[in-house]
Amino acid sequence: MATIINIPEAKAIQVNNLEFTYNGAPEPSLIDITMPIAKNSVTALIGPSGCGKTTLLRAFNRMHDLYPGHTYNKGEILFEGRNIIDPKEDLINLRIKIGMIFQKPTAFPMSIFDNVAYGLRLQGTKNKTELNDRVEKALKDAAIWKETADRLKDDANGLSGGQQQRLCIARAIAVEPDVLLFDEPTSALDPISTQGIERLVTELKEKMTIIIVTHNMQQAARVSDYTGFMYLGELIELGKTEEMFVTPKERLTNEYITGKFG
């Protein structure tokens, strides 16, 4: 049985008994996941490769629905008091509220400004000054304003990998989501850029709830308030980060964080 601690804070998301199967897969990739996500905090997801971290993360913004045949077999994900796994959920609206940063930087083939303004324009913001202000604010919040202020019209693909990843963060936070999902956001970056992103993550939690998948346990320890350990599609343990890395309750968690497997 899994050890899931009770969290004292308000919950941004509550997952209950979620089970998910990929198209054509013989076994579910998520098994009976029950997990609270604390509001305005950072929750890290760790676990060996293939354990289902990305799968769980992509359930929160229903990314799986882009491809036919994947099914949420059982359970629910509660967000704002409703079950967002419901087929009637408005996915456009959901994805505006629950943003996502990917493993690799994904600058669109357009200018730096247009990249950051993209989500705002999708929502119908046309006013020039409002766009300018919000783009500038997002770039500042993503700590990339200094490098880009004088080249907003330039092609975003001219930025370095680390800069592009921060640009993607700026693009995601420009629409002011309530939750931001990060899937190994620093796995393609150098140590300095990684530090920058980690600092950002801890700063952003004042404004939003963050869930971050990482392979790097030091990173989980540095940035997160809560950590969930997954193994073979199950959530084995969810605890306060400082406790979990020192005194894990589950044997499997202990073996994983002490490097006995993984």
Binding site: L66, R95, L122
Partner: protein
């Protein structure tokens, strides 16, 4: 050993590349030599005269030139939106189960010999165009339609391939911001695949402008410039295909060669301009 192979490989590819250039140069030279008589006696008026009367030794190339340009232009205008629509459907909208069968049929269509399109156009489209637009049914409009159908499969297939190179993660990033499918196609896939799409359009254009068999049947071979695209007309390849066997004087013969030279120059210029204009802009934005 490997060093030696590398050297042999490098040299042989270089020789092949140079051979291609030599062939192009040779074609140019022969066309130019054969055209010399026409260039000398017809002069620049060849390009602007509208009268083509071989029995009177009057050679004006403008109707053929205009015919080539207008029928190609029509074909492109008709084919581009459909080809891009089909490509979007195949890469983004169709169910997985449909993608392969439709995709393969389109590739098969691209392999149909152009003479088949020409015959089909003559027997099928000429009556339709005649019924709808009046006139004789043969002419620039029918040629444009047949050409557009001929280049469409190729255009659609290459455009689809270009669109399919867009990384999933890039599309997902747009969806993750609340984009609709249409937003993703317009803002991510088309800009990303722009270079490939334009490349396919340029290749199709090159095919259309030089196309002979598909249009010979439906053009009419009438050396007249008419504002009415339903009237019979001609284009450079059509004139060449129809008249080489009849060229009974040296000047007639040479004039036809000059037409061929003009066609080559037009193709080169259009392709060079299109390439430098669009691809330069693409490189800046992607």
């Amino acid at each position: 050993m490997t060093m030696l192979f590398d050297k042999i490989f490098a040299h042989s590819t270089r020789i092949i590349a140079i051979t291609v250039l030599l062939v192009v140069a040779a074609i140019f030279t022969i066309l130019f030599q054969e055209s010399l008589l026409s260039i000398q006696s017809n002069g620049f008026a060849f390009l602007s005269d509208t009268k083509w009367a071989p029995n009177l030794e009057k050679f004006g190339a403008l109707p053929s030139i205009m015919g080539s340009i207008i029928s190609t232009f029509l074909a492109m205008i008709l084919a581009i939106p459909v080809a891009i629509g089909v490509a979007i459907f195949l890469s983004e909208i169709a169910y997985e189960r449909l993608k392969a069968p439709i995709g393969i049929s389109i590739e098969l269509l691209a392999a149909i010999p152009s003479v088949v399109y020409g015959m089909w156009g003559l027997f099928y489209f000429v009556p339709i165009v005649r019924d709808i637009f009046g006139g004789m049914g043969i002419g620039m409009l029918t040629a444009g339609i047949v050409l557009s159908i001929m280049i469409l499969p190729f255009m659609a297939a290459v455009t689809r391939d270009a669109m399919n190179t867009t990384p999933d993660i890039l599309k997902e990033s747009a969806y993750a911001l609340g984009a609709t499918k249409w937003n993703v196609v317009k803002d991510v896939i088309i800009p990303y695949a722009k270079a490939g799409i334009i490349g396919s359009l340029i290749l199709a254009l090159g095919r259309a402008i030089g196309e002979t068999m598909a249009v010979t049947f439906v053009m009419g071979n009438v050396h007249k410039i008419s504002m009415d695209i339903t009237q019979p007309a001609t284009s450079i390849p059509v004139t060449l295909a129809n008249e080489f066997t009849e060229a009974d004087s040296d000047l007639y013969y040479s004039s036809l060669f000059e037409l061929a030279l003009i066609l080559l120059v037009i193709s080169f210029v259009i392709i060079a301009v299109a390439k430098s204009y669009f691809l330069r802009r693409t490189r800046r934005t992607s």
